[in-house]
Amino acid sequence: MNFLENLLAGFSAAVAGPGIPVMIAGVAWGTIGGAIPGISGAVAMSLALPYTLSLDAATALVMLAGVWAGANYGGSIPAILMRMPGTPGAAAALFDGYELKRQGLAAKALGVSLVCGTIGGLISVVVLIALVVPLGNVVLAFGSPEVFALALFGLTLLAGLTERSFLKGLASGYFGLLLTTVGIDTLTGSLRFTFGRSELLSGLDIVSVMVGLFAVSEMLVQIAHPSRREAVPEGNAYTAFPTLAELRSVWRATVVGTVVGLIVGIMPGAGATASSFVAYNEARRWSKRPDLFGKGSMEGVAAPETANNAVQGGDLVPTLALGIPGSNSAAIMLAALILHGIVPGPFLLNKHTHLVFTLFAGLILVNLLMIPVGLVILRGCLLVLRLDRPVLIAAILAMIVIGTYAADLFLLNPLLALFFGVVGYGMRRYGFSPAAAVLGLVLGFLVESELRRSLLISYGSWTIFVVRPISAVLLALTLGAVLYPAVMYLRSRQHAQAAGAGLS
């Protein structure tokens, strides 16, 4: 049993036969699927699942890994180009990505997203390969209280998204949190805010609501406010690959994104979406130019995109070490195994060493293939910017309808997108923050259900959050993140007052 030999054997198995073309197809498929609103990574993978049945188990896994990696990247393409998150994980990248597009830097932003995402994906896979067995036990240290504390920490981003009007931003965040309560309550079985409609039992589809709040509202603004139809600056469509200097300027964000993605990925329940929001917030905290965030910061694109690709390795830790999927996407990898007659579980690593190492090799290869495949698709997508604006708007709206419909074959989802498009339009018109609402929407489910589950575990005692070290640390960080800006604000006012008094 030699680690390197296994890995080399994995590489040769991964590239053997149809390996490379299948990986390219997987990555391309994932990137395109991820770029379509409504088709998230897990949906893109599940649509590819039937195709993989005719392949052997290892090739099938590698192809699905490719779809997964591609979808993580693909989601950012429409987020940056059209203010439309293709996957929930890409929502955090649009805050700055769409601003960059307005400044004529769309291609650059997409290039940064691609390269940083690849870096994040590669590092996380290497960590996975090196540490899968020890990390398997770390997973078990993350219970409900820890995930709750993490979600609360993520919510501190609210303060960053609501600089214009804190009260309205807070109300927007509450609104987003409220949206996650629709449907059957897992913990008690009660129906909440379903208005007697069985379609609402499983809750609101997050992607449809997001696409409504961000993209449909933007289309409505452009249709109803002719003055907002600013000219698209030249240069959007050309240079894509970031230069070394540009990469150096986002290295902090990339490191932050990778670390956040790895940690959040290992946590059960919290996935790519939560990681990208936390990474965005952290990257701003560590950045040298935090003032640029929200106004077109490359770091604001690099951090969430790195994080949501770095989640892949973390997600696979419980999947491979314990046989328990860390996310919906990982669950589809397991389903593929079962359909190929392989029982996943803690022995997977020992019983099917060759298969697992082929998967490892495949993960490295698909992340490398992301760059050429991504660049080709990116060039194609940039052509969209040359369309006439009315044609582009009509095409986006039609794509939103069919895309949200396609995920579940459910007319409710495009209706939701339209409804929340109108809501998002109203929110923007009256100074509320759709971004804060989306943050609440993404984290609300974790906040509520993990809080209540923690209290079940502790028989109602709130001390559970402070006696467990990881959750205590996370809660302390949350408290610090809330208090630090407030203290700084008061201090700066005192200074200003003192200065004012001195002047007079």
Partner: protein, 329 residues
């Protein structure tokens, strides 16, 4: 002259097209020829889930038995009942069949008070197989038998946490009925699915795990999880040494069965074709292998028996749903 030729060509082309369509249209009136085109197997859950994997394995087993393939179509949503609503609107020609389990065909329609989506709005075709419900503990648990556990729980209140899937699922019914039957306080901790429940349990945040063994079988082999009771009618062939709750005197019997329903009014001759094919599919190697891996047991029932079973099952489930106060007012 020229215009005339073009017209003739157009008429011929149109005629050929119409003829092609009328020929390719399926002949509905001849059940002997059923099936002449692929049958759509509608599953109300997303690809990759237990229901979907089951459906694809069954479709695979039916290959070569039916002259036409079974095509799985996923219509997830509304706890599986979105698919019920869709299938109810499809023609009853035997080309659309519906996946059903207790959750999608009894529990959710009862809780939400939608009789038009319940199993009796359809024609039962066949119950196929079931996964059993197991109670599992960690090997270092201070008890070795269900009785010891009950004694412990009575002596130490607030020390028995049970992790399982969401309230309203079979897991929660087993846990809560057992707690009631044994007269102990069970702290049931619901999760979004079996995987998260297992993580809570393995992380030491619950004493008992409840659910299927398919997801945790390797943990059982590794002696990290020990099954110690099963909620079946009789002992399971998977772990024959594990007692049933029933033999210990608690009448708690639930399995997670999976089945197929038809839109109401499918001709009996066509239902018969499907029933015979399904019965044969269960004998194939590919199905047996799948069933063994899924740690499931075959529980085939034909249309008439299945209908009787569903009637009883609904009465039983309705009783516990009302006891728990889950039904919508």
């Amino acid at each position: 002259m020229k215009i005339g030729w073009i017209r003739v060509i157009w008429v011929c082309a149109l005629g050929a097209l119409l003829g092609f369509f009328s020929l390719s249209r399926p002949a509905l009136s001849q059940p002997a020829d059923y099936p002449t085109r692929p049958i759509t197997f509608v599953v109300g859950f997303a690809p990759g889930g237990g229901a979907d994997v089951f459906a694809r394995a069954l479709a695979d087993a039916l290959k070569g038995i039916l002259p036409q393939p079974l095509v799985v179509e996923n219509r997830p949503g509304a706890g599986g009942t979105a698919a019920n609503a869709y299938v109810a609107s499809r023609p009853a020609d035997g080309y659309t069949i519906l996946f059903a389990h207790a959750g999608s065909s009894i529990i959710t329609p009862l809780i939400t008070n939608q009789p038009q989506l319940k199993w009796d709005a359809f024609d039962p075709l066949a119950r196929i197989h079931a996964e059993e419900e197991w109670l599992m503990v960690r090997p270092d648990a201070p008890w070795k038998t269900p009785e010891e556990m009950v004694t412990f729980a009575k002596a130490n209140p607030r020390r028995l946490r049970v992790a399982g899937s969401a309230i309203g699922g079979i897991d929660s019914f087993v846990a809560l009925s057992w707690g009631k039957a044994a007269g102990i306080e069970v702290q049931y901790i619901p999760h979004e699915g079996g995987g998260p429940a297992t993580l809570t349990f393995l992380g030491g945040n619950a004493e008992v795990l409840i659910g299927n063994v398919s997801e945790v079988f390797q943990h059982i082999e590794a002696r990290r999880i020990v099954p110690f009771a099963v909620a079946s009618e009789r002992r399971s062939s998977i772990f024959p040494h594990v007692p049933t709750l029933k033999e210990k005197g608690w009448d708690v019997v639930y399995v997670q069965w999976r089945s197929i329903l038809l839109p109401p009014g499918v001709p009996p001759s066509r239902a018969a074709v499907l029933t015979v094919a399904l019965q044969r599919a269960l004998g194939t190697d590919s199905w047996k292998r799948f069933n063994a891996n899924a740690k499931a047991i075959d529980l085939f029932l034909g249309p008439a028996d299945f209908r009787r079973f569903l009637t009883e099952e609904e009465a039983r489930l309705a009783r516990i749903i009302d006891e728990l106060g889950l039904r919508r007012r």
